[in-house]
C-alpha cells in the first residue's frame, strides 16, 4: 500500500541560533522539511522582533547568556535524548491502540478471518491449489502484481505532484477517505452486530454511520480536535488492516509484507526513489506535502513575528488514509507539511548582543524548551511531534492481526513486541540521521522473524511442556 513510505519523521527542529556559532548573523534559513535538525533548547535564546519591541527572552536574562550558551551545548545532547524517548512514547500509544483494535476484532469477529473465497483484483491467483509448489508460485505472482500496482501508484503520485496537479491528488485522497469512513465502517458495524447477535434497525445504523463518516471527514480534512483526528486515523488504519487481513491469502500476505518493506527501504533511501524525489520536490518548493496520509502527534504552530504580529497557524494535521483497495495510493511520505513556506529563524541573541536588531521575518519551529513556570509567550511554538505515515500503522497492524488470526497469544505478543522494538530502533536512527526514514523495514523484519520463530519453535515447545505438565 501506498502509505508506506513511512518516513518517520522527526520534527526536531532546530531552534535557534545556536549560540555557540559565534557572532555571525543568524539568519539561518534552513529550509528544512524533513530533516529534523538537532533540537536545541531555547533557554537562553531570545527572539528578536523587528520593530515590535524588545526581544523577548525565553527564560534567561541576557546577562546570563554567555554562560548559558555553554550550557546549551551540553543541554543539547541531553535534549536530544530526552526528546527521543518522549517521541517514542508518542508513537507507541497510537500504534499500540491500532494493533489492539485489530487484534480485538480478529479475535472476536469471525468475519475477518473467514475465507469466503473472495479475493482482491490485485491478487488473482488462488492459494488453495493442489501442490505446495503451485501455491508458492501463485503467492509470488500475487505479491508481484500487488507491488507493481503500488509502484505504479507511487509513480503516478510523484508525477502528479511534480506537475502540480494538486486538485487531482486532493480529490483522490478525499474520495479514498470517504470510501473508507463510510463503506468499510458500515461493513465493520454489520459484522460486529452479527457477531454479538444484536438486532439493529436501519435508522439507527444510518444515523450512526452518517455521523461517524461526516465528523471523520471534517476532522481529517478540515478542522477538528486533535485527539479526535488521531482517533479517526487510528480507526481507519485499523479498518484498512482488517480488509487486508481478510482478503489477502495467507502466503501472499506474508510475502507482501516482506516485499513492501524492501520497497519502502528503496523508495525512501535511494537517490532515484520515488518517495525521495517527492520529498525533495516538496523541499524545493518549500511546501507541505499532503494534507493526508500522515499521523502527527501534535499540532504545530508557527508564529510569524515580524509582519502580522499575530500568530499564524499551520495545520500539521490532516492526515488521511489513502487507499482502500481500489485506490492503492502510493506510500505517503511524512514530510512536514507544516513547513509550508516558513523559513524559520530566530534572531539570535548574537545579533542582539552585537546591537543588530534584524527584523525577523521568519519564525522557526522549535521545540519548546521553556521552563515550565514561564507562561508561553506569543512567539512560542508548540511542541513538534513525530510523524508516522498511516501505511506504517496499517502494515504493523496487519502483521499483528495475522499473528492473532493464525497463532495463539504467544505469537501475537511476540510480534507486538518485535514491532515496537523495531519502531524504537527506527526512531533512534531518525534521531541520528535526521532525515526521512522508512519505518517499515526494521519493524516488519523483526516482526516476521519473531512470528515464524515463535510459531514454529516456541509454540510447539510450550505446548509440549504444558502437555507434560513440566514447568520451567
Amino acid at each position: 500500500m501506498a502509505n508506506n513510505a513511512e518516513d518517520v519523521e522527526n520534527n526536531f527542529m532546530q531552534g535557534q541560533p545556536e549560540s555557540a556559532a559565534g557572532p555571525e548573523p543568524r539568519q539561518q534559513q534552513q529550509q528544512q522539511q524533513e530533516g529534523g535538525t538537532r533540537l536545541r533548547t531555547r533557554g537562553g535564546s531570545g527572539v528578536g522582533r523587528g520593530e515590535g519591541g524588545g526581544p523577548e527572552q525565553n527564560g534567561h536574562p541576557p546577562a546570563a547568556r554567555p554562560a548559558v550558551q555553554e550550557a546549551e551545548e551540553d543541554e543539547d545532547e541531553e535534549m536530544t535524548l530526552k526528546y527521543g524517548a518522549k517521541h517514542v512514547i508518542m508513537l507507541f500509544v497510537p500504534v499500540t491502540l491500532c494493533m489492539a483494535v485489530v487484534v480485538a476484532t480478529i479475535k472476536s469477529v469471525g468475519f475477518y478471518t473467514r475465507k469466503d473465497g473472495q479475493r482482491l483484483i490485485y491478487t488473482p491467483f488462488p492459494e488453495d491449489t493442489d501442490t505446495v509448489g503451485q501455491r508458492a508460485v501463485n503467492s509470488i505472482l500475487n505479491a508481484t502484481i500487488m507491488i507493481t500496482v503500488i509502484i505504479v501508484m507511487t509513480l503516478v503520485l510523484v508525477l502528479l505532484y511534480k506537475y502540480r496537479c494538486y486538485k487531482v491528488i486532493h480529490g483522490w485522497l478525499f474520495l479514498s477517505s470517504l470510501f473508507l469512513l463510510f463503506f468499510f465502517s458500515y461493513i465493520y458495524l454489520q459484522e460486529v452486530f452479527k457477531t454479538y447477535n444484536v438486532a439493529m434497525d436501519y435508522f439507527t445504523v444510518v444515523i450512526v454511520i452518517w455521523n461517524f463518516g461526516v465528523v471523520g471527514m471534517m476532522c481529517i480534512h478540515w478542522k477538528g480536535p486533535l485527539r479526535l483526528q488521531q482517533a479517526y486515523l487510528i480507526m481507519i488504519s485499523a479498518l484498512m488492516a482488517l480488509v487486508f487481513i481478510k482478503y489477502l491469502p495467507e502466503w501472499t500476505a506474508w510475502l507482501i509484507l516482506a516485499v513492501i518493506s524492501v520497497y519502502d527501504l528503496l523508495a525512501v533511501l535511494c537517490p532515484k526513489g520515488p518517495l525521495r524525489i517527492l520529498v525533495e520536490t516538496a523541499q524545493e518548493r518549500n511546501e507541505p506535502i499532503f494534507p493526508a496520509l500522515i499521523y502527527s502527534s501534535t499540532m504545530v504552530w508557527l508564529v510569524n513575528m515580524a509582519d502580522t504580529g499575530g500568530p499564524r497557524r499551520e495545520s500539521a494535521e490532516e492526515t488521511q488514509e489513502a487507499a482502500p483497495e481500489p485506490a492503492e495510493s502510493p506510500p505517503p511520505l511524512s514530510s512536514p507539511q507544516d513547513d509550508g513556506g516558513f523559513t524559520p529563524s530566530w534572531v539570535s541573541q548574537q545579533e542582539h548582543q552585537l546591537g543588530q536588531l534584524q527584523s525577523t521575518e521568519e519564525t522557526r519551529r522549535q521545540i519548546q524548551q521553556m521552563p515550565s513556570a514561564r507562561p508561553p509567550a506569543e512567539e512560542d511554538e508548540e511542541e513538534r511531534g513525530v510523524k508516522l505515515g498511516l501505511g506504517d500503522f496499517i502494515f504493523y497492524s496487519m502483521l499483528v492481526g495475522k499473528a492473532a488470526a493464525s497463532g495463539d497469544w504467544n505469537t501475537t505478543l511476540a510480534c507486538f513486541v518485535a514491532i515496537l522494538i523495531g519502531l524504537c530502533l527506527t526512531l533512534l536512527l531518525l534521531a541520528i540521521f535526521k532525515k526521512a526514514l522508512p519505518a517499515l523495514p526494521i519493524s516488519i523484519f523483526f516482526g516476521l522473524v519473531f512470528y515464524f520463530a515463535t510459531d514454529n519453535l516456541v509454540r510447539p515447545f510450550m505446548d509440549k511442556l504444558a502437555l507434560h505438565q513440566f514447568y520451567i
Partner: protein, 101 residues
C-alpha cells in the same frame, strides 16, 4: 488543531460552523462542539466573543439532548417490539439475531 492558538474571532467562527453543521442530522457534531468548546465557553475568563460561543455551546447541548432522547426512545421501542412486528420488524432490521426472540 489547538484552540489555544486561534484568535477569538476564529474560535467563534469554528464554533458557529460546528453548531450549524449539527442541524444536518449530526448530533455527534454537536457533541464534539460541546466538549471541545466547553472550556472556552465556561471556564476561560471572559472575552468579547465568549458570550456568543456560550450560546452556541448551550444550544448544541440542547440539540444533543433532544437527539439522545429521540434515539433512546426509538431504540427502546424497536428492541422491545421488533419480534412482535413480524414482517415490518424484519424489513426495518439491519441485522436480525439468530435464535428465538
Amino acid at each position: 488543531m489547538n484552540l489555544e492558538r486561534l484568535p477569538n474571532e476564529e474560535k467563534l467562527i469554528l464554533c458557529r460552523k460546528y453548531y450549524l453543521g449539527g442541524f444536518a442530522f449530526l448530533p455527534f457534531l454537536w457533541l464534539v462542539n460541546v466538549v471541545w468548546f466547553f472550556r472556552e465557553a465556561f471556564v476561560k475568563p471572559a472575552y468579547t466573543e465568549q458570550l456568543q460561543i456560550k450560546a452556541y455551546v448551550k444550544w448544541s447541548a440542547v440539540g444533543l439532548l433532544f437527539w439522545v432522547a429521540v434515539l433512546t426512545t426509538w431504540i427502546t421501542i424497536f428492541q422491545h417490539f421488533r419480534a412482535q412486528w413480524g414482517e415490518v420488524g424484519d424489513s426495518l432490521s439491519f441485522t436480525i439475531p439468530l435464535g428465538t426472540p
